[in-house]
Amino acid sequence: MRRYSAFAVAREAARYHTGWERAWRSPEPKKKYDVIIVGAGGHGLATAFYLGKNFGITNVAILEKGWLGGGNTGRNTTIIRSNYLQDPSAAIYEKARSLYETMSQDLNYNVMFSPRGVLMLAQTEHEVRGYQRTAHANMLQGVETEFVSPQRVKELVPIISLSGPRYPVLGGLWQARGGTGRHDAVAWGYARACSDMGMDIIQQCEVTAVRKEGGKVVGVDTTKGAIDCDKLGIVVAGHSGVLAEMAGFRLPIESVALQALVSEPIKPCMDIVVMANTVHGYMSQSDKGEMVIGGGADGYNNYTQRGSFHHIEETVRALIETFPMISRLKMLRQWGGIVDMTGDRSPILSKTPVENVFINCGWGTGGFKAIPGSGWGMAELMAKGQSSLTEEFGLNRFREGRFVDESVAAGVAH
């Protein structure tokens, strides 16, 4: 693989950039692989990458029914944070956050991780106590956060209105090392690195059946023919239920549409990510200058990648209340993605009733920020059969009533 660098760009400029090679190969599927990952989104590609990097497993195919990174990886609001309350969540999200810090170098692909800081506003006494609890938990989890004063909030984000007529800002939970990243680049960077390790990324290849022998997976049927494998990883946010059904087990999951929107680009006015959970809205400013805004999730099962507009209304009015200056900005574009909601709103990274079939799903609204940590843990789980990062996220927890419930701290987790 030719390395990317300013020098390489300059060299190519001399010949009008006609010499660049493909970022990833586009091969035909082989008959058999050691591991097949279904889903070439961030989580699937990261899983493959760490299988190769940490465990030397490179005879891997990543099957994608559409185009890589075309699912939620390319539809989210790119927030990266790890200020979670429960130990298992804090562990995997913090692992992810720390991997994001070096990802551009690790992948030789600039994913523009921008540790600009994430602030969660506390706007009721109850929320203040909740975030103080999270701050104490984070301190013991090795996650750097602090509960800051309203004055500090105003310094961090001058466009905020501290005294809305409704919910005055009483403080906030601040994670200075959280931030944002370029979502597409994460998928592209992993894809390029996987391809370079000799893995096959096969796009436009939909899985139509999971083949089993004696309760054990032996391969999959796809629109590009049958492919054998020893181990199968299902990493298809939004369609996990469909794949699980093929494999022959059920999931504690419902798929709903989650929406987001961006404003027209304006000059920099907000350097950090702000989440206001009492009023249900969050916002950051992209490097292009757009205000990136997260909306709510629909209350009904939906596979259309279109949501109901009233969620956009609720989010926008909440943010105008919090940042009155955005009232005269304009909404440029809105879109939706399909997210898997589990029984406790936490993800599932787990073995399944089918031997050698592993599943990674249920990230709900929190998927993007977890990508590297999720891939790291999933790879370990698939290679070694267990991982401390994924242990608490097993399917069995629902039967035992051993939940990982984050709604405890913040109303919503994005």
Partner: protein, 1005 residues
């Protein structure tokens, strides 16, 4: 130069001149001008800088597709960035400033990017800026952000000075677009009797037809427009709206329409924008078509414009974009521009027609006017930097060898027309590729479908690919009739108006000019003007494997600018397909997402701002609290007094005073927000036994019992006191904010699981004001006001009774959440304020002290009473809180019982509730965790408990807390450590959670 012509301009009123300012300069325009036409009339062709290279940008278009002419307008309360000049009507006092340049439009530092452009191809930032690691955040990113961003950000303290509103509209047929097609479709549907709304995004009806001319039913098209508008206005069942845009089409016939009421007259009273949420039986999209640019070197230099725009400015606004206009085209329509220019008395040095065969009738007409026409030719290069100076002509078939140089100040280009299919596509309408016209058009067989599975969007006219006047009218008439028919109306037999279409020679797709343009030229051939995406960028993306159209879009940012690719998408798509060696339809389009053009955040929020941002719930005593200095605490949508600080008194001091006053004499609490649910019926007892963990059916009429409610998942969700009113009627108190939730919870089980049980539930929370009279002197006060027997014997603890207090009929519950002698008195809300006043007066001799939520919390904590939301957080079961006494062993079943039998719920290692007493009397910080030895497999410090409530107790003069601790109840007296985020460590002794009056003597007196 561009200037105002002596005559012409069907949209402007030359008698009414309007003064406005651009970059501080005072300029004049006419009523009816757009900001764009007025600027051109003042020779202001260059209007901004591009996003990435900061290249000079001029006005390209005349409508919503304009990518360049974006301005900051207004100041302070009216400031707004990125206002599109082509859709902004000028008004007296309009203040416009150009964007994205520093220090000035003419001289821009950022323009160095242009010099470096060769080193900044698509996606260069993915390949660079990686070293050193922290430079991205501190060096590169800030630079990139600053140079991007277009419009200025409003000031932090700017408040929008305008109001906005929504409106819910209901129509059988909504026609989007007020051009001839839209008008005809509306007429056809209206005549059939359908309830019709027809909207036009600009201020004028008729669209482009009047500019292009032609005859309808033998009369000039302008007459047809006037007549049709008049006919529609005469129809009772038809509503016409101008300055209203179809913004988005959503599922089940939901249409978002954006009406701009005051943008053109900001000084008039009324809302600035109105966002219509419309339910339409059928939506007719008569949204017209947008002309495509041609891709040749230098096609981004100010003065290079769409041929149709040049025509619009001349005909609609009497404005000449330039004196010498070179026309370059691959179709006949652009000849209309040449003719219009000529007829306006301006010169057309040459028409460059890429087609070897040249054009049809219009071409002959042009030649007849003496215009030189070059066929099979293209433009090799445009000369000039801030303004077009001339063009180099070459053979379209070649690689760009210059055959001729022609001086000019405007290049009018036309690459053909693309139907506006956005609204058709928003909700899933599919497209077909039309080889002949080289454009995507709606596939009538694959429409977006509604709740009945029926197609609900009907494209009409140019938006349906019927570009000719006659064909368009016929198509629109059919669409209108069909829409009426499908919404249950009988279309009339009236024929569609007839208009002869000039026979035009076929268009020949030209995606690159010249066809064999080399890398050097391709790097100067723009696709996306605002985001600086060039032909070479798309080709690079394809080369690097970003083959999906979505990959290419995201990698190059093609079509991601504020125009959302209205001009660039198809051209980019064609270049990509060519690079991949596959037909265009196989490449496909990117997804069309709402809104069609950007809409204001204010309009989306509508009326919901400031005081009516959200409902604020008030108790009958709210005004008294307000008047008496209450410091408010939002609890759900309620506002409750947190405390009542006296002047100069801190909140902490106020809380301490309220606690002591209550403990020592008399306190009053507004408890009206507590939920009150009436549960009645023969099966009421059985029902409550299922809802509460403890037994309610055995409660005696006249008595009260504290109860716990769990979710089916086992977790504690609410608690409160239940009073049995009579044999089959109970009154269930819930937590504040619990009322609606628990009421819904009850109805859900009654309606969906136990529907054969005879139980009715009613939420009477707001029917009653409830006041807690608390403290050793509580009884004395009530006895002053009542004849009834309130003695300890006559009215024992945990009983209720109807009591008349000074002629007010009340119901009194003798319950206590503070540990003191306490009565909760409920009266109809309309008498709440009267009772409150009466109690204050009667209690005056005992120093009656109103107390707030914090004093309430402190007192309940002193008594070890749990609080839903503090001791519980959705993961706690009653067993964790030592509430076994409230969990019936006798009952076979209750909600949550089965869940509580699961292995993790019965795990002895679950943390249990205890009291915590700091060794030094200090207060443990909220949310602190008790540490245990070592770390877990993920390197996190092990913990063995956490604080759930922690306060300074004025009664005990020390910090007290409750918490959940591993094996807590078995470790009484043991000291555990709570490290605080403040760096201190708080050592606390595990004690009984009841800190005060353990035997309950005070509440039982």
């Amino acid at each position: 130069m561009s200037t105002r012509l002596a005559q012409g301009g069907r949209r402007i009123d030359r008698r009414k001149s309007v003064e406005f300012r651009f970059n501080g300069k005072r300029l004049k325009g006419y009523e009816g001008d757009t900001l764009a036409s007025a600027l051109l009339a003042n020779d202001q062709m260059m209007v901004g800088r591009s996003f990435k290279y900061h290249r000079p940008r001029g006005i390209v278009a005349s409508g919503a597709e304009e990518p360049n002419a974006l301005f900051n307008t207004g100041e302070g309360a009216t400031f707004e960035p990125n206002q599109r000049a082509t859709t902004t009507e000028i008004f007296a006092g309009l203040e416009a400033k150009s964007q994205n340049h520093w220090p000035s439009l003419e001289f821009d530092i950022g323009a160095v990017n242009a010099k470096l452009s060769r080193f900044l191809p698509a996606g260069f930032y993915y390949k660079t800026f990686m070293f050193p690691r922290f430079a991205w955040k501190h060096l590169y990113e800030p630079f990139i952000r600053q140079s991007a961003g277009l419009g200025r950000a409003p000031e932090a303290e700017d408040r929008d000075g305008d109001t906005y509103e929504h409106f819910y509209g209901f129509f059988d047929v909504v026609v989007i677009g007020g051009g001839v097609a839209g008008l005809q479709a509306a007429k056809a549907a209206g005549e059939a009797g359908a309830k019709v709304l027809v909207m036009e995004q600009t201020a004028q009806w008729g669209g482009r037809a009047a500019v292009d001319g032609g005859e309808v039913d033998g009369a000039p098209v302008a007459d047809y427009i006037a007549a049709t508008v008049a006919a529609l206005e005469a129809m009772e069942n038809v509503t016409l709206r101008r300055r209203m845009m179809g913004a988005g089409v959503y599922d089940h016939g939901y249409l978002l329409a954006y009406e701009r009421l005051r943008d053109h007259c900001p000084d008039e009273a009324g809302p600035r924008h109105r966002l219509w949420r419309i339910r339409a039986g059928r939506i007719v999209t008569a949204t017209g078509a947008i002309e495509r640019p041609l891709s040749f070197a230098g096609n981004d230099i100010p003065g290079v414009m769409l041929a149709s725009a040049v025509r619009d400015y001349i005909v609609d606004y009497g404005v000449s974009p330039g004196d010498r206009v070179v026309v370059v085209t691959n179709n006949d329509d652009a000849y209309r521009t040449a003719i219009a220019v000529k007829e306006a008395g301006l010169s057309v040095p040459v028409i460059v027609d890429a087609r070897v065969g040249g054009g049809g009738a219009l071409a002959d007409q042009a030649r007849a006017l003496g215009i030189r026409v070059e066929t099979g030719k293209g433009i090799a290069k445009v000369h000039g930097t801030k303004r077009v100076e001339g063009v180099a002509i070459c053979a379209q078939a070649g690689e760009g060898a210059v055959l001729d140089e022609v001086g000019c100040d405007v290049v009018a280009m036309s690459g053909g027309w693309s139907p506006v299919v956005h609204l058709w596509s928003h909700c899933g309408g599919k497209l077909n590729w039309d080889e002949a016209q080289a454009c995507f058009r709606p596939d009538g067989n694959r429409p977006p479908t509604d709740q009945d599975g029926e197609g609900f969007v009907l494209p009409a006219g140019a938006a349906n690919g019927e570009l000719g006047l006659g064909a368009g009218l016929t198509d629109a008439d059919a669409a209108g009739k069909r829409a009426a028919d499908e919404t249950g109306h009988k279309p009339g037999r009236g024929k569609a108006p007839v208009a002869a279409d000039v026979d035009e020679a076929a268009l020949e797709p030209v995606w690159l000019m010249p066809q064999g343009a080399g890398a050097k030229l391709r790097m100067k051939a723009w696709l996306d003007y605002q985001n600086d995406v060039k032909v070479s960028d798309v080709q690079l993306a394809a080369r690097e494997g970003y083959e999906s159209v979505e990959h290419t879009k995201r990698y190059t940012t093609l079509g991601m600018a504020t125009d959302q690719g209205k001009l660039s998408n198809i051209n980019g798509l064609a270049i990509l397909s060519d690079a991949l060696g596959q037909p265009i339809p196989q490449t496909g389009t990117t997804t069309f997402r709402p809104p069609y053009t950007p809409i204001s955040m204010g309009a989306i929020a509508g009326e919901a701002r400031a005081e009516i941002f959200q409902p604020l719930r008030r108790t009958p005593m709210h005004d008294w609290h307000e008047a008496n200095g209450a410091h408010w605490e939002p609890v759900g949508q309620w506002r409750r007094p947190y405390c009542y600080p006296k002047t100069g008194e801190s909140h902490a001091a106020a809380v301490a005073r309220e606690v002591m006053a209550t403990r020592e004499s008399l306190g009053l609490l507004d408890a009206s927000t507590l939920g009150k649910l009436i549960v009645k019926g023969p099966d009421a007892g059985r029902f409550l036994d299922m809802l509460y963990t403890n037994m309610m059916s055995t409660l005696k009429p006249g008595k009260c019992r504290y109860g716990l409610m769990c979710s089916e998942n086992g977790f504690l969700i609410d608690d409160g006191v239940v009073a049995r009113l009579d044999d089959d009627t109970f009154l269930c108190h819930t937590t504040t904010g619990g009322a609606e939730r628990i009421h819904a919870h009850m109805e859900e089980w009654l309606q969906t699981e136990w529907w054969d049980w005879k139980v009715y539930v009613a939420n009477v929370t707001e029917q009653y004001a409830q006041i807690a009279v608390v403290g050793p002197n509580a009884r004395k006060v009530l006895e002053k006001l009542s004849e009834d027997d309130l003695s300890a014997e006559g009215f024992p603890f945990m009983a209720w009774k109807d009591v008349t207090l000074n002629r007010i009929k009340t119901r009194v519950y003798r319950i206590s959440f503070s540990g003191e002698l306490s009565y909760e008195i409920s009266v109809p809300a309309s008498e709440g304020r009267a009772l409150w006043n009466m109690l204050l007066e009667a209690g005056d001799e005992y120093g009656a002290t109103p107390y707030g939520t914090e004093a309430l919390h402190v007192m309940r904590a002193e008594k070890g009473f749990i609080m839903i939301g503090d001791e519980t957080d959705g993961t706690v079961i009653p067993q964790d809180l030592g509430l076994h006494w409230a969990i019936s062993k006798k009952k076979e079943d209750f909600l949550g019982k089965r869940a509580q039998e699961r292995s993790h719920m019965t795990d002895p290692k679950r943390w249990k509730l205890v009291g915590l007493e700091t060794v030094d009397g200090s207060v443990i910080p909220d949310g602190a965790y008790a540490v245990a030895d070592g770390t877990n497999a993920n390197g996190q410090r092990n913990v063995q408990g956490r604080v759930t409530s922690t306060y300074f107790s004025p009664t005990l003069g020390r910090g007290i807390a409750m918490g959940l601790v591993l094996n807590g109840p078995d470790r009484m007296g043991e000291v555990i450590s709570f490290p605080g985020t403040d760096g201190k460590t708080y050592d606390a002794k595990i004690v009984d959670p009841v800190f005060y009056d353990k035997d309950g003597e005070k509440q039982n007196v």
